[in-house]
Symmetry: C2
Subunit: 166 residues, 2 copies
């Protein structure tokens, strides 16, 4: 079972262990590959509305996500989320559980839709998963992501109009 709860300050060292290899790989998020723990913490926690963790039966942390408005005021009814899953917990449905949780949270927080701004095309597992969870590919941004191995690759804008109710 996966339990999802709000991220607490004490979680950060483990969250950074989950996040660091993702940041260092540079394959899925546009963050600086040499980002420090403090920078990542500022980005994940300070500029977001809320952040959550997924934990397993023993309370071990398996993943994290944030939710925030994708635009200021007149676009603030559209949520943006970012998700990270521990390398050790892949293939166990953690991303699915977090995305479904985030959609319920989005409704609770008053959002009407959810948008992902830069889903890297080569990150096929994520593209597939978000589509399975009801997100549409709104369009492809040519060469919008600088991949460390593949060079400039396309990225998708993905969007879900009605976020999951209850």
């Amino acid at each position: 079972m996966t339990n999802i709860r709000q991220l607490e300050d004490a979680d950060w060292p483990v969250i950074w262990q989950i996040m660091e290899p993702v940041v260092r790989s540079g394959e899925t998020y546009p963050y600086a590959m040499d980002m420090t723990s403090d920078q990542a913490r500022g980005m994940w926690l300070d500029v977001t509305e809320a952040a959550y963790v997924a934990e397993g039966d023993e309370g071990e942390l398996l993943g994290t996500y944030y939710i925030k408005p994708n635009q200021p005021t007149l676009g603030a009814h559209v949520a943006n989320c970012g998700y990270l899953v521990s390398a050790q917990a892949r293939g166990r449905g953690i991303a699915t559980a977090m995305c479904e949780h985030s959609q319920k949270e989005a409704v609770r927080l008053g959002y009407r839709a959810m948008q992902f701004n830069l889903v890297v095309k080569t990150n096929e597992a994520s593209v597939y998963l978000w589509q399975k969870l009801g997100f549409d590919v709104i369009g492809a941004l040519p060469g919008a992501f600088k991949h460390p191995h593949h060079g400039y690759v396309d990225a998708f804008v993905m969007y879900k109009v009605r976020v999951k109710q209850g």
Copy 2:
């Protein structure tokens, strides 16, 4: 003739005169309609890489634009710009002049492409102009903008791969 130069601190009071009615209308930008001059200044100047003004023959200010990376590091080769034209100077090609200038500046600053994240569909003049200047509608975000008169309206993501050279 329109001259375009970097925005200077002393320009702000006049720039705010240009910006305020646009902000108050809430029809084209997602900013809070009750935004103060200080808030607008922080948004337009502090979070951007550079800001410019368009001035007429007498040095009068006709418009302004900013340029900044649309995403952090691995997406920072795509520029984002925002443009504002004085209500008194509409129909004189100021937006065109600023957009062409911004594309040259984008090249000079090392950008490879330019993206507009939220072009409100009801702002037909802008949609038409950006297309004329080589931007593609990448996709439409359903109901992504809360228009004060029309309610939730669609917004376009627009993108130009090769920004104008020289």
